[in-house]
Amino acid sequence: MIKVSDITVTYPSNSVSIFKKFSWEVQKSESWAVLGPSGCGKTTLLYLLAGLLQPTSGTIQIDAKPILRPRPKSGLIIQDYGLLPWATVHQNCDLGLKIRKYYGADGIHAPFEKQSSRIEKNWLQELGLIQFANKYPSQLSGGQRQRMAIARTLYLQPDLLLMDEPFSSLDAPTRESLQELTTSLVSGQGLTLILVTHSVEEAVLLGRKILLLSEPPNENAMIIDNSGSSKPDYRNTNQYVDQCRELRTLMGASA
């Protein structure tokens, strides 16, 4: 589904390239975690996939189409500040659809296929937010805000979910419940997931495969198979603990 070919990314302010002739492939319905220390280029990679940044050289293709701008069927969820503070939960969730109506189905800002006016699912209801529909983001807890960001994305019926440290500012129980929600949504909707995180535990929990980035420039990143993560209650298995330990060792070695 995603094909990153030979990309080099250099910021004008920095002489070291973040990525150098970097290639990567993601198949449909895979769940990937992108793990690495801060400054390794995780977020850059996600923004490249989201079409918010362009590589200095090389190409990125999703569904065999080059990504030159945000793609209507990719949903991006970021850590904080992604919601409009002046809009209610309901209005925030409507934002994507409103923007699409604003431009019409031009294939650039909105998909060509006619949007079904009937929404398949009331995601506010599904994610337990319906009673907050008329509240503003500042009146919600961090966990509720992230649920809202997820709901907003789901209304656009994405096939690819891009998440940038979505749960790192949340407390542990909230984080766990949202991690479980993500897993069930991804498998339930058949989504492809790319989740960027600095937390080894989160990567092992949510990534069926883990892309391990290190200090730039990233040329060949390590890929770790973590197929055990599909098991129920993986969090409490020895396999999970072992996988975390192994990853920590790898991260220590690459740093």
């Binding site: 989201a50 918010l52 945000p70 990719s74 002046w86 923007i99 431009y103 009146q139």
Partner: protein, 247 residues
């Protein structure tokens, strides 16, 4: 601010005024009863109304012009680092200059009619709104912009759904902060070679007709105008920026 406490404060001010008037007992300091009586009489016989309308038209026109030009300019500067880099030294230089000192110059250029007065008010408000809107637009988090762009928003939709609502409070704050100055400057401009406007009315009643209650009625009218605009902005803000008042 609670409506009740505003009304109580107003009554106390009027009461102090009445007591002071009884103690001082000078024709140049009439009490509130005389002044309000004069206010009603001047209003009914049509002497105050036209001046009031002339003044409010000038303020509103200057204000409208400033909002319509300074908000888009501020938005543009706020979200384009290059343009701001070129223009910010100029704004930095012009912003602190007390614009009132341009009154005689603007009158030389634009005459003594409404246009000069509107332009002066416009200039004062323009810089206030420009700077506040620019800073507000520049402070919008890049995460928010990226997140909305990822939903498919291009430049036009970003203005409509992010930049405009994000800077609306700044526009209203700028106007609120400048209403007092605008009315004060209006008064000054209306002292020069005009026969319409509350400034003229106050001056004429006081220094030519020696009708002090009517002069005070003019002062009251001008205060009400400033107060009314202030309340009006509060009202608009409460209706359009509900999110600021939820916590």
């Amino acid at each position: 601010m609670q409506r009740k406490s505003i009304i109580i404060t107003m009554l106390i001010v009027v009461l102090i005024w009445q007591v002071a008037a009884i103690i001082i007992r000078l024709p140049i300091f009439p009490g509130p009863i005389d002044v309000f009586a004069a206010f009603i009489i001047e209003l009914v016989n049509g002497k105050l109304g036209p001046h009031f309308l002339a003044s409010i038209w000038r303020v509103m026109a200057g204000m409208g012009l400033a909002i319509m030009t300074a908000s888009p300019a501020g938005l543009l500067l706020g979200q384009s680092k290059q343009i701001n880099k070129i223009l910010s030294p100029l704004i930095y230089l012009l912003y602190p200059i007390p614009k009132v000192v341009f009154v005689p110059i603007i009158m030389l250029f634009f005459g003594i009619g409404d246009l000069a007065k509107i332009i002066i008010i416009f200039i004062i408000l323009f810089f206030q709104i420009l700077v506040l809107v620019r800073d507000q637009a520049a402070n919008i988090r890049s995460e928010l912009i990226n997140s909305v762009r990822s939903l498919g928003a291009g430049r036009k939709a970003l203005y409509r759904f992010v930049y405009f609502p994000a800077t609306l409070p700044a526009i209203l704050t700028a106007i609120r902060q400048s209403v007092g100055t605008a009315v004060a400057v209006l008064y000054i401009t209306e002292l020069f070679a005009t026969q319409k406007g509350l400034g003229y009315y106050i001056y004429f009643q006081g220094s030519t007709l020696f009708n002090y209650p009517a002069m005070y009625a003019g002062v009251v009218a001008m205060s009400l105008m400033g107060l009314g605009m202030y309340f009006g902005i509060d009202w608009i803000e409460k209706r359009t920026c509900k999110w600021l008042f939820v916590n």
